[in-house]
Subunit: 242 residues, 2 copies
């Protein structure tokens, strides 16, 4: 089957967690909105699902994945669908629940990271909430980032199957998502991350291991990987990295 | 099996979505942290799991549910575990994914509702971010609440099995969660909700139907239902309901 991924074409955003899993799986997929409009791509391809009659069970927002007749939205939901199908999640119930629980915790962290630059409203520009963003980011960097990173460091330490994976004894979508979180936090808050990673070596080792996976390395070097930019979830405003 | 629910004892919060599903299921459960400390309850009962050695796969935060040997965290994850076991979710894969997708969208709305009174940081008091809260709430009430309510109104309209349920032809945890969202939004933003519910009659009908379920009605009238208050997710600050 060829999957169709639908996500905003100009950013990594939440779609990137899905892209990484599809790439690590070696799955066949089309990143639909990145096709030209002539090829049926662009933002109109998304809007058909959000506003039109393309599907009865409409998503609230991208990303969503078309898998045969299924249209699945919400990043963590897409990953719990893909994971067991592609050897990127445990197959037993306890393992699946644990992987999903970690993914939902990552999703919370991602929302908090986004809200540092948009604490008042997503519909306003950064420039319209700059001083609030500065206050919000100082709490995120000082309290929340260390708390979250400590948690995942502990998760890696507590995994009895070891080998530097978050869940079980093999690579999972949780490892891929943690890689993306570290990449994003390094882009957005380079100074803070340098400090925080000094004594959180398991997270750094996981990042390196994922980056070196042949399929991931190939993906990161390709044009399919959209560079980080100032429209995504992780944005680099030096004044927020204090 | 007797479930053990772990959540902050003084608020409805995210734990309430789990309580409603357990109550509607007629499941046997203990709300552990609401027991006295002598009975093994109170906040220390929670902290054992978050900081101590009570469990290897530690939750990041409450709520979490102990089901035999499993300890499951993240509200939506708990509900997707409980739902199919108690006839409160579809059993087919497409239906389960759809129910979970809706629950995750509800979770996003709940976070946005919380962040209206804590836009800068959860660790600060409301009084320390009051003017920011006013700005944030005006966007939530003016843009996000209508958008979310319209979405769920559409979900109810688009359900071919009809009968006023969000998913399939029977009561599910999604219906119970939508009930709780309406209850919370009415408490926090009574003026705005009165206006918004005027032309969103399906949501209101769903609320009434859930409130009238014998088990839910009994629960709502019992001491087990913690009243809304100014420490929870939904808080009534009249200045935010403009």
């Amino acid at each position: 089957m060829r999957y169709e991924l639908y996500y905003w074409p100009g950013i990594q955003g939440r779609g990137e967690f899905v892209r990484l899993t599809l790439e690590a799986a070696g799955a066949r997929y089309v990143d639909v909105a990145r096709l030209s409009r002539r090829e049926g791509g662009g933002v109109p391809a998304l809007m058909r699902f959000l506003e039109g009659d393309a599907v009865r069970r409409k998503p609230f927002a991208p990303p969503f994945l078309k898998a045969g007749k299924l249209v699945i939205a919400q990043t963590a939901n897409i990953l719990q669908f893909l994971g067991p199908r592609h050897g990127l999640a445990p197959l037993d119930e306890a393992g699946r629940l644990w992987a999903h629980q970690l993914q939902l915790t990552i999703a919370d962290l991602v929302t908090e990271a986004h809200d540092t630059h948009h604490p008042i409203a997503s519909s306003l520009y950064y420039e319209q909430q700059k001083s609030e963003a500065r206050r919000s980011a100082s709490h995120f960097v000082g309290e929340r980032m260390p708390k979250h990173l400590d948690y995942f460091e502990q998760v890696l330490a507590d995994n009895p199957r070891g080998k530097g994976h978050a869940v079980g004894k093999a690579l999972s979508y949780v490892d891929l998502s943690l890689f993306q979180v570290v990449a994003g936090l390094r882009y957005a808050f380079p100074k803070s991350m340098r400090k925080l990673e000094r004594d959180r070596t398991r997270i750094t080792a996981l990042y390196d291991k994922v980056a070196a996976l042949p399929r991931i390395a190939a993906y990161l070097g390709s044009a399919r990987r959209i560079p980080f930019n100032q429209s995504g979830i992780f944005r680099h405003y030096p004044e927020l990295d204090a």
